[in-house]
Point group: C2
Chain length 423, copies 2
């Protein structure tokens, strides 16, 4: 099987000041194309570290994808290291990249400087893949077997995540043109609302029945719920897909309405799909989630077709003045209560004139709460023409994770209530 | 200098289905404590890979911190590998962790199963650091020099990010008790609104004047702006801090009001501090940012003291009905216009009765836009008792990054306008 290593370059990763999102993105793309990622490594901005790590990766895998260290500033030295590694004698200037640099700087109203021009210079022995949305080009090097013991391709691309993401499809195409790739097939079943250990118990027998070349992994996440990933190796596409069809069907039967989708989906996408199918619209009234339900919904391109707006009523006065929650309800039951989220959902639905609505009120923490309503308590409601459904959960995490889990739980309540015909 | 490696265990990382946030958090904590992180590596869930990677890390650095592979399910095998690596003959049950498991399951209303109980079992040769917020304990192993050529400490902790984050301070304390640590000192200057290449040109001379043991790194981020990190090695605390004081003072003089803070801060924290100092309150009216400004503001614990609420008016009808933007304005200038954000900011400030307000309207992409208002265009406003300030930017990124940059830009406009006495 064709193997790959990912090497992220930059002191900022080793020192923990930036998060390495590129490796996850790149390995997902490689795996989908039937390339096994065997190693992810981060190294510092020092010449020796970069050289050592790249050489080790070239010796232990066919493909090496390096990100980072290509910026216009003095601490970025990847290109000089690649000169040495590839035995290039001089730089050549990439015309196509130079054009792109000009356009980007003009659009941003930034004056062209020498350090910008120099970004179009690459080692003589590389092939340039133009980077259409950033100033640093993607470089491709080929090392024949004599050099590091493998028929290697090495790619170097900018470390800015959206530039990396944009570059990856072109890099995959270059890989496919060079190697004959094997196949791995994946299927991800997305569930929400059941804890990992309970889920594991529920599917124990099913799991024991899996054939040897079928691997199961649990992927828990506050927003995505627990996703179950099935991976099958060493089959043809047809056989692989058939096996995955069979085992995912039996899995879904066990899990019932906890399953909200398959593959690269999430609760907000599913909510959007349900609304589009019905030609319906939605609004939200958020307290403790502070706009995060709205953010999840509006993160989907085209969400303006069904999402109309929200009222974030962090302060109780806003709950009363904008969406008509009654002062009495708040006094009697508190803002974190079944009664309050019910009035919030009904109020925002009426005020904004949408088909459905979602509301949240809770205590995200870290402080606050009472013995009967501890930190992490959420009350949520989903409302529609058929009625209003409420529910509560307790999330024992950080403020950030609590907010994420709260928002996704409210979206999941909406999904389940809608499908069950309750709202 | 004491060195460390971080080893993240799990197929889900190599396959790119989860993002490795732990390494960044751990390396930040290690670096702050004067431990140099020399290697970050990810390996698969296979026994051989885990053993090989841990051994390689133990040979190349003093401390190894492993995360992941400790869940209750069958694909998690780290603990068994650690039995072998540490030469433990049997498991022992940690009483303190068992108590914690009981409490967590009870609070979540989950029935205790054998797989939960077994999470309290650890290899005989390890020291347990209780994990107070999760079911899997943290394990500490000591390997004397004879074993891997160094006086090694190995820690194994759960891969769930908030559990890792909670465990790290205890792990650092255990490291400090074992080694005599060197010092590195960092200072991070946070800037917003100036592109990296322009910034680099502005501070070129200053950068050339830096002494050899003082290192500068650029850390660009859509929400945080460009942060400049100064790191000094090989000095005493007093000397190090003095050097950092001196060079950061001269840096700040060059950059003026683009500097919004130092260290681990961000635009939303700074906005909150400015409001608290003035005993003032804020509301937001968001269109294209869809609640993200509110999310950033409410991500700060205690933000309810100054943040009252928001109206997210994705649909124009909501802009008109809830915060009183005039239909004529939208017809004449469009929703993405100086005039519209001005009315939105004024309208929400009045409606919610806050001292200040922020508004946004733009085109997050990927589709939409016109030649005069291309995708990535943002209009924003900040309003207060002294007046209303508007501004526009163009962000050429993905929808996600555009939304993040839009929200942070609006917060930065608020900061600068407030400090300049314009709102």
């Amino acid at each position: 099987m064709t193997t790959a290593s990912i090497c992220t370059i930059g002191d900022e990763i080793l020192i923990g000041q930036i998060l390495d999102t590129n490796s996850a993105f790149i390995s997902r793309a490689l795996n989908k194309s039937g390339i096994k990622v065997v190693h992810i490594a981060s190294c510092s901005d020092s010449r020796k570290d970069i050289l050592d790590t790249l050489k080790r990766c070239l010796k232990s895998s066919d493909i090496v994808i390096a990100t980072g260290g290509l910026g216009p500033t003095k601490d970025d030295i990847t290109k000089n290291v690649l000169m040495t590694l590839s035995g290039s004698k001089r730089f050549k200037r990439s015309r196509s990249q130079m054009e792109i640099i000009k356009n980007i700087l003009t659009a941003r109203g930034i004056q062209m400087l020498d350090i910008n021009r120099m970004q179009a210079d690459v080692p003589q022995n590389c092939t340039v893949i133009p980077n259409k949305i950033g100033t640093a080009p993607i470089m491709q090097f080929h090392f024949p077997k004599e050099k590091f013991g493998r028929d290697n391709l090495l790619f170097s691309m900018p470390g800015v995540p959206f530039e990396t993401e944009n570059a990856v499809p072109n890099v995959i195409a270059a890989i496919q043109a060079h190697y004959k790739l094997d196949k791995i097939f994946h299927r991800t079943i997305c569930t929400f609302g059941i804890a990992e250990s309970v889920l594991s118990k529920m599917i124990e027998k099913w799991e024991d029945s899996l054939p040897e070349n079928l691997h199961l992994a649990y992927l828990p996440n506050p927003i995505l719920g627990v996703r179950l990933r099935l991976s099958i190796y060493g089959t043809t596409q047809k056989e692989g897909e058939e096996e995955l069809d069979k085992y995912s069907a039996s899995l879904k039967q066990i899990l019932g309405d906890a399953v909200y989708g398959e593959g690269e989906t999430n609760p907000q996408t599913v909510a959007g799909e349900l609304l589009l199918e019905r030609g319906a619209t939605i609004s939200t009234a958020e307290s403790c989630t502070g706009g995060y339900v709205a953010h999840l919904l509006t993160g989907i391109p085209g969400s303006s077709r069904y999402y109309w707006g929200s009222v974030i009523s962090y302060d109780n006065s806003v709950k009363i003045s904008t969406i008509g929650v009654s002062e009495k309800t708040i006094k009697k039951y508190g803002a974190v209560s079944r009664e309050c989220v019910k009035e919030m959902a009904k109020g925002v639905r009426k005020k904004l004139g949408t088909t459905y609505s979602i509301s949240t009120s809770g205590i995200a923490g870290p402080s606050g709460g009472t013995p009967s309503k501890p930190v992490g308590t959420l009350w949520m409601a989903a409302s529609g023409p058929k009625g209003t459904v409420t529910a509560t959960i307790v999330s024992k995490s950080t403020r950030k994770i609590n907010i994420e889990r709260f928002a996704a739980s409210a979206l999941d309540l909406f999904r389940r209530s809608l499908i069950a015909g309750k709202i």
